[in-house]
């Protein structure tokens, strides 16, 4: 039950993020790839990828803490 709640909460909070932010966070976790690999895959500069994920994580954390 707790696991299901966690999953639901994660889904809700990811839904509150900008779509590209939640997409790269999901992709990073599920595919086990680094910033460098993600940046290459999405064809964006490394700094941009870091910015997307860090912004996403900050917002995600605030939501998950609620």
């Amino acid at each position: 039950v707790v696991a299901a709640e966690q999953q639901e909460r994660l889904k809700t909070c990811l839904g509150e993020l900008e779509e590209r932010h939640s997409a790269v966070i999901r992709s990073a976790f599920l595919d086990g790839v680094t910033y460098e690999q993600l940046a290459q895959r999405m064809e964006v500069p490394l700094g941009t990828m870091k910015s997307w994920i860090r912004r996403g994580l900050m917002k995600l954390r605030t939501c998950l803490e609620r």
Binding site: L30, G32, T48, K50
Partner: protein
């Protein structure tokens, strides 16, 4: 925070670094720094625990793999059941997660060791249900009979080798060798492997014909970077025969 971010320390500080660590996006050196901080700094370890717990929901998103009964009975026959028999995990989640450190912590390599390693190795191929295309499997035993690794090789030469217990290499590199059967039994290097995570290797086409049942796989300890002589050192730490599942 600007649209691009080149800083090593993110605006959100440790909570975000912990998130990056659990997410697995840090490069090797950043990851190793974070891993050391988890050991030494309880506050940072708490941040990591927060993310591990919250991001665990992702694990349920990946497709569950259930090996057929036949595969399980062969796996169970191939391994000597330890006093605390590994618990069957009929619905172990497996996706492309195999190189994700967090995934490894979820699976718990120490908890169900060999059976988990077998399952991961087989699930990697996704062909366990088709006996004619089933990969060859080897359990590489260490001295004293403890399993060290499980490896599976598909017919096309794709190989995955999964640690079945926690090993340390003391600054040395671990190198994987294919030992063909018969007169051409000179060991051939398949490359370096990692003691703590699964490694995927493509067997060179020239060596694929040597991948047969009864050929063996061995892991040797070599100087950093691997054997320079083209032959394994005498320090063989694990060896096992390839068998049909």
């Amino acid at each position: 925070m600007s649209e691009t971010d080149h800083s090593d320390t993110p605006e959100g500080g440790d909570p975000i670094v912990a998130g990056e660590y659990v997410l697995g996006v840090l490069d090797a050196s950043e990851r190793s720094v974070a891993a050391q901080r988890v050991e030494r700094e309880p506050a940072f370890a708490n941040e990591v625990a927060f993310w591990e717990e919250r991001l665990g929901g992702f694990a349920d998103e990946v497709k569950a793999v259930t090996p057929p009964e036949a595969a399980w009975s062969r796996i169970e026959a191939a391994i000597t059941a330890p006093p605390h028999s590994p618990v069957r995990s009929p619905a172990l989640a497996f996706g492309t997660l195999w190189q994700n450190l967090f995934f490894w912590r979820i699976v718990g390599i120490g908890a169900s060791g060999l059976a988990t390693a077998c399952l991961i190795a087989l699930a990697y191929f996704g062909t366990v249900a088709a006996p004619d295309r089933a990969p060859l499997l080897a359990t590489l035993g260490q001295q004293g009979g403890q399993p060290g690794f499980v490896a599976a090789i598909g017919s096309g030469g794709s190989l995955v080798i999964v640690p079945a217990s926690l090993l340390t290499s003391n600054q040395k590199s671990m190198e994987l060798w294919l030992i063909p059967t018969g007169t051409q039994a000179r060991p051939r290097s398949l490359g370096l492997i990692a003691p703590s995570q699964p490694v995927r290797i493509t067997v060179p086409p020239s060596l694929v014909p040597f991948v047969t049942p009864d050929a063996s796989l061995a892991v040797s300890l070599e100087e950093p970077g691997g054997s320079r002589t083209g032959a394994p050192s005498t320090d063989i730490i694990a060896v096992g025969k390839l068998t049909n599942l």
